[in-house]
Amino acid sequence: MGARPKVAFFEFTSCEGCQLTVVDSLQTHPELLDAVEIVRFREAMSEKGDDYLVAFVEGSISRQSDEAMLKQIRAQASLLVALGTCAHLGGVNSIRNRQDLQSVRRYVYGDKADWYETYPARPISAVVTVDAVIPGCPIDRNEFISVVTALLQGRKPVLPDSPVCVECKLKENVCVYQRGLTCLGPITRGGCDAICPTFGDGCEGCRGLIPHPNLASMKNVLAEFGMSPDEFDRKTTMYLTYQMMELEAAKNG
């Protein structure tokens, strides 16, 4: 590769924690700064370049007026990467997609609700074509490095298709089910080194479903541990609302 590729970071509806995690990745991998030229990254610099080749986009799209900006980024970038669960799957922002939008607005903004534009939160792939994804809430800093390395080498980054359970077993964790908790590890895409079960909490599914998840079997397992179908549905609404609603729509044709 000749000149260093120009890279830009953008964010829509999000907490900006993924970009913060990018900053933290650079602490331990400063060599990346020599491999690319960052032309826009408001958390770390003030310059605003518009001639980027690669765009990293954090956050979901939750209002019409943000679509034009995202399309503009798409038109400029040769490679567009979704950074984190909000961009990848809608993230926690889509929790409200199963609620009545007008009452959501009224609950927060009262009789001024109409001042604030919004629509159901969606992943950026619902608006533009996405070339690569770095999943997670927040992203895993090692995975960020490996995905960026692959992109710089002209390879398509490969995400694991195996569930979180595989990595959890390799870490020799006691299964959180044995400790009385529930966990979406069996149906959630791995790659996070099973960080939540390792720190004593069940997987919440932030990295999205594995390909062909066996949801029926998952429900049976949860039922064995005393979880009702309603509770299962709710458990999959923290990060997976958008994905589950898509699956339901596909199933209902």
């Binding site: 829509f12 958390e43 610099m45 922002n93 409200r96 009262g110 927040p138 720190f199």
Partner: protein
């Protein structure tokens, strides 16, 4: 330029939880308009918390902010625990305090080094510093990494915490990990001294405007978690009465709510804490304050950054003491305290890096039925706008680029998230 007319119209100034604009309109030397527009997409977290099981609340609400994730989680847990009558153990309280210091350090170091230090060293951003002053950049990275590692040891990661839960923790640090942290904290004292020295050199505008400062207060410690709301205008309120202080209201040009107490606006954050809680600072932090010429009550908002440097000194010292206490008592794996009841209302208050944060939940049979969050940025917006309105008429004789720079630096001092707001204003003159 006796009676200038100009308009400053800045699109996406800061990362006040995202995006904000500044609009300044001066006609014939008279300030006609001076607004801070918050145009971030509405987030609706309060509505999203409704209908969720109480145990999920801290995990969902930490996602409000990647920079204050531990703070949101802590305020959320305290609100839930108070609602359900859960009394955390002393070990939990100590671990939470130590974890909290990690976040304050992480955020403050990022802000003072990435936003403000370049000014002190006469450069445009932190990037050229890597070549011209590598020792400064390496120091900042070393300090920031320690802060992040501190949180990682206790709760898995700073953004977003994992092991924090209602009634305690789900994972615990080993003595060896605490020992290593403690040793690194002791070693970082030299970096704190160097940070103080760096900020002694920094020239900040002499602008002053008397205002009200609000912070959580405890008599026996420099308060970050729990405590009572206290004001420099006098008065103390239990956090349950937060609405009497925050009085939130909406303005059409902002998706962030605003707040006012005794005056038209008030300020929260490091400078407010310093002004309200100076007596409780660690002696070494008071030493740093003396070296930096910072005395309470300071009414120059530009010195909020300097107050952050003082807090860095405080948090490092207090973290060393907390780590030593935990090692002495020995950290034991304990199951979280189970709630005696599953219904109730509770208010949790914390001092996150940018100021007072309130979470208020109503829980019925284990489900959240009502939620309200008051974030520091919302409380500060009115005060920042009032500062701008007071500042602009006094600097009309300056060039527009100097006015823009003064406004930039004012925004930067408030530390609206970690944006490198350096040189982000685009002035359009008409």
């Amino acid at each position: 330029m006796a009676n200038p007319s100009f308009r400053i119209d800045v699109h996406h100034v800061t990362r006040v939880e995202g995006h904000g604009n500044i609009v300044v309109d001066v006609q014939n030397g008279v300030l006609k308009q001076c607004d801070l527009e918050i145009v971030e997409t509405p987030r609706f977290f309060e509505a999203m918390l409704k209908g969720r099981p109480y145990a999920e609340a801290s995990h969902i609400s930490s996602r409000i902010c990647g920079i204050c994730a531990v703070g949101h989680a802590t305020a959320s847990l305290r609100a839930t625990e108070k609602a359900l009558g859960v009394e955390p153990s002393e070990q939990t309280v100590l671990l939470r305090k130590l974890n909290f210091h990690g976040e304050i350090l992480d955020s403050h170091i990022l802000h003072v080094y990435m936003l403000v230090a370049p000014d002190a060293l006469g450069v445009g951003s932190v990037i050229p510093l890597a070549k011209t002053a590598p020792d400064v950049v390496l120091r900042a990275l070393r300090m920031k990494k320690l802060a992040g590692d501190l949180c990682a040891v206790i709760c898995g990661r700073h953004t977003h915490p994992i092991a924090m839960t209602v009634g305690g923790f789900t994972h615990f640090p080993t003595t060896a990990q605490l020992q290593e942290l403690r040793d690194r904290l002791v070693a970082v004292r030299a970096d704190v001294d160097a940070t103080v020295e760096l900020f002694q050199k920094l020239k900040l505008p002499a602008f002053e405007r008397d205002t009200e400062f609000v912070a959580l207060h405890k008599d026996d410690e420099y308060c970050f978690i729990d405590g009572k709301l206290a004001s420099t205008d006098g008065g103390e309120w239990p956090v349950e009465k937060y609405r009497e202080v925050t009085n939130e209201y909406l303005v059409p040009h902002s998706t962030a709510k605003r707040a006012k107490n005794k005056r038209q606006s008030y300020m929260v954050g490091a400078l407010a804490r310093f002004n309200v809680n100076y007596a409780q600072l660690h002696p070494k932090a008071k030493e740093a304050a003396r070296a930096l010429n910072l005395t309470p009550k300071c009414v120059n908002p530009y010195l909020n950054t300097v107050a952050q440097v003082v807090e860095i000194a405080h948090c490092v010292e207090d973290s060393i003491e907390l780590a030593e206490r935990l090692m002495k008592s020995g950290v034991t794996w304990r199951a979280p305290v189970q709630p005696p009841t599953l219904s109730g209302e509770g208010v949790g208050g914390c001092e996150v890096p940018r100021g007072t944060l309130i979470h208020n939940y109503v829980i019925q049979d284990g489900w959240i039925s009502g939620a309200n969050c008051v974030i520091p940025t919302a409380q500060n917006m009115g005060n920042l706008e009032d500062d701008m309105r007071s500042l602009v008429p006094t600097i009309l004789n300056k060039s527009q680029s100097e006015i823009t720079l003064d406004l930039e630096m004012l925004m930067r001092a408030y530390d609206p998230c970690i944006s490198c707001s350096a040189h982000m204003l685009n002035v359009r003159f008409e």
